[in-house]
Symmetry: C2
Subunit: 213 residues, 2 copies
Amino acid sequence: MKADFIKKPMEIEHRSMEIIAPHLAGLELSEAETKVYSRLIHASGDVDYAPLIHIHPQAIEAAQQALRSGCDIYTDVEMVRTGINKRKLQTFGGKVHCLIADEKIAAMAKEEGITRSMAAMRHFGKALEGNIVAIGNAPTALFEVLRLMEEEGVRPACVVGIPVGFVGAADSKEALRVQDYVPYITVEGTKGGSPIAAAALNAIMYLIDDTRP
Amino acid sequence: MKADFIKKPMEIEHRSMEIIAPHLAGLELSEAETKVYSRLIHASGDVDYAPLIHIHPQAIEAAQQALRSGCDIYTDVEMVRTGINKRKLQTFGGKVHCLIADEKIAAMAKEEGITRSMAAMRHFGKALEGNIVAIGNAPTALFEVLRLMEEEGVRPACVVGIPVGFVGAADSKEALRVQDYVPYITVEGTKGGSPIAAAALNAIMYLIDDTRP
């Protein structure tokens, strides 16, 4: 049994970022974008994410500004809520909302024949305005956020839309990339997931202030 | 905006499994293995997982037997706890333990210069005996479980070891594959993560009983 592996969290993180760096060569990223890309790759263990990540030119700035003003984060699943550094978010004054486990949302979803995460986004509605949306699992939730933006004029400060899977995920993320209402962070194709969405948010918070509460 | 996407959870899951199936062709999997492989790929959105997944011949049976007897699951991070269907686990009598956010574990980790998830596994120690270990994030936690098995004779019923990343993850998972003490489920290389580890556990529970509480 190997006993000489690295055991200190910040050392692991720094070494990891060094290993990721060469895989970002040629992508012409800003320093801030490099941090976000690196953390997404770090969370997935998958350097093949590099060319699939899409960050709208205003996304990082918009998300930082919203966070600094104490915005909240609205997410589709509990795993994203768990993955977000909530102590850090609290230092800015924000909190995370997720209603997928709510009884009333479950009843609404059953009645309408839709997923619970989709029902939750519909229920949030206008509350998303000026806040950050983080989708890490359900394409249906992202489709609903896009509908709220298009049909009801809701404008989140930024949408981190990284649902995962083979049914709707790629389509919903492409729809996010082609809309023109709000800045976004996404990953094209079927890959994604809650640690990836949470990593994007954590990266942006650490860009504002890298101390880790 | 496309409005004709699939909105029913079980339909999404079934369609997803159909899309994944051809990617498992040629791997000569049992029906139970097929279910576990499919759910790992479903959780990652990444068909390239197929040849990287390793399931010890006794792993699914051992995990099912332990679950049926009401075993608990010990995990490294809260995201794995969140991802596991705990209502389902409860129907068998089990619960999930995670101490990464525990104050005493944090103090122990700081004092010993190790990660909190590693300190948590060390603290669990003999309690892992006969239960299931699920590692979805920290190679250090998996290395500690391997040490407990080798040096202290601790024998979990099954180890689901799917840590992620570029520092230690691949090594820790290889060490899991070459040990001969307990059956395991793992993914070779840098890829992995908490949804993948949780998916393995959920797949095994649904193999026992596919109703979803």
